[in-house]
Symmetry: C2
């Protein structure tokens, strides 16, 4: 099969890999219909995170079940499924609490595999899915092609934005500031709107992203950054915010969030902290700022969000502003790297 491999910074190749085989009776094989490039895929692409050896990449995909192990009773061949960006057993202590990203037996696509080699990545023709019955979210019927982009967004970015909003306890009437105008930040806007926030300020300097944020539900946009951005957000809201959603993962973005929060304000964070940022406790202490978030347990969120997608209430697929064939996956990376695309979908 064809599979996208990362060899090092800037070095993305579509290569031929052996077709995946069922290894455990809890595995299933999924034929990928759509996948995409994530902001976090850009960390190794930019060399911010190292790549020790060539490995499969991509952790967001939707597709069709084509083969199953004997123990996979929850799925049938031909089922249309959404894969969350981690696999999980659904049964350990963490999963029972809904924290599937901390599953005792779980893992991430494209990482080393206990049996040797690597788990398949999502940006390829097929994926062997471990613990498939618990991992894959099955659609009640075959979706229309026009809905693929919205379903694909449930694989990571929409659930991750939702996690930011939930972690910050966004609720009806709240004022919310979103830091990060990438796909996750855009989805955080949609999540805050869905949870009833009254005012949602997106911090963004780029026209296309400002426009998208308004489509996702932002009531206001602030284009300044740093201290000016904080001042502008406070002015727009007439005071500090109830919640701030951190969707970047840098110390600067956390600083923006802390700057706009009221006493007792809630910071929800989902930006991957690739550069080891720290939080200054003395800034939190006096104002009783709370901080929650992390790697989003997307699997249960698919169940929560899918009905809104299927009934046309939520359109997270709006984050995809480009689509290219899998054969041009290297171009998808470079477009996102150069910010020519917010998020690029790959057609298989």
């Amino acid at each position: 099969m064809r599979a996208t491999m990362i060899h090092g910074p800037g070095d993305i190749r579509l290569e031929t890999r052996p077709d995946p085989q069922i290894r455990h009776d809890t595995d299933a094989i999924v034929q990928v219909v759509r996948s995409c490039v994530c902001g976090s895929d850009l960390w190794p692409y930019r060399g911010v995170r190292g790549t020790d050896e060539p490995r499969p990449i991509g952790h967001e995909f939707i597709g069709t079940v084509v083969e199953r192990g004997a123990a996979v009773t929850a799925l049938r061949d031909g089922d249309f499924v959404i894969a969350p960006f981690t696999f999980s057993d659904g049964d350990c202590a963490a999963c029972r609490r809904g924290l599937t990203t901390s599953c005792a037996r779980g893992g991430v696509w494209g990482t080393p595999c206990a049996e040797g080699g690597f788990h398949d990545g999502g940006q390829g023709d097929y994926v062997r899915v471990p613990l498939a019955g618990a991992t894959l979210a099955r659609l009640p019927q075959q979706p229309e092609v026009g809905m693929y982009r919205d379903l694909l967004a449930l694989s990571d970015v929409m659930g991750t934005g939702h996690h930011a909003a939930l972690s910050a306890k966004v609720g009806p009437g709240d004022t919310v500031v979103v830091v990060g105008d990438g796909a996750v930040g855009q989805c955080a806007v949609a999540a805050a709107a869905r949870l009833g926030a009254e005012r949602i300020v997106m911090m963004s300097r780029r026209n296309d992203r400002q426009t998208l944020a308004r489509r996702m539900g932002a009531t206001d946009v602030v284009s300044e950054r740093g201290a000016d951005g904080i001042a502008a957000a406070l002015e727009v809201l007439g005071g500090p915010a109830d919640a701030a959603l951190e969707c970047v993962g840098t110390e600067e973005s956390f600083d923006q969030c802390l700057g706009v929060l009221r006493p007792g304000g809630r910071l929800g964070y989902v930006g991957v902290p690739a550069t080891s940022p720290t939080l200054p406790l003395d800034r939190l202490f006096g104002q009783n700022i709370s901080v929650a978030g992390g790697m989003a347990p997307v699997r249960p969120y698919i169940d929560e969000l899918l009905p809104d997608v299927l009934t046309g209430k939520l359109f997270p697929g709006l984050v995809f502003d480009r689509a290219v064939p899998l054969t041009e996956v290297d171009r998808a990376y470079s477009m996102m790297d150069q910010r020519k695309s917010i998020k690029t979908m790959l057609t298989h």
Copy 2:
């Protein structure tokens, strides 16, 4: 009147200051019956925090209303009152949310005063209490002397321990680790027990503090520190904890807390971060650790906790292992500084 002043590191003096006068019609004058020395009073005493000029010190006291401004209608002369460690108007946006420590018009005893000079400290004969009607918690009747210590603990440490437990969302059946065996940590144990925690581990190396922790409700004690302490706590609990309560304020104590928490665990922190500790976001991210707490809004907590004290269900006054007359206030500081006392009460 007599009032305790700090002049610099190790330099505590009981001096004569003018008797306080009503300055605003929302003021009241309280004659102090009992006060005490706080762990945070030791920061300037040890020189960890500077003392630019001599100032009154002490922020925990109980006593009797002896004079009132015309607007103080909620109190009468002779009322027995508990003063929280900050004053607050009870009416601003923060106070209405219960966050009295972020009151728009509030402040702290012994700090510079808008009218010039300093607010009175609690370790003296009298205190002018601003915004007295909202600040002071009035007892329904005169308490017995034997109850003074429990009431005095509501001024700060019990409410602060309660804030740690509430911030960490401690509830029935939870496993909890408390880091910090001072008065606040001991009260955090009592708060966790009161909220229904099933297992409460106190991290403490000292016999007297271990004994006190068990009286406050700890089910287990771990005397190791650092990595050994983390390993011992995990062994005692048979796994990581649901919640950790940080009651010190150093990077080491936060590290202990992070080390014992399960994925999705909750860190409640109330230790004053005097040394500007930071939190490593990449340690929080993967495990979805949430962090909440800060300067405890003690005023509403007095209303919440007082009934349990008055009905003999809660004995936070157990933290006072020494009592000395106000004339020996310098000895009270040195006993606490040298850890000869967990918390010392001053009799007036």
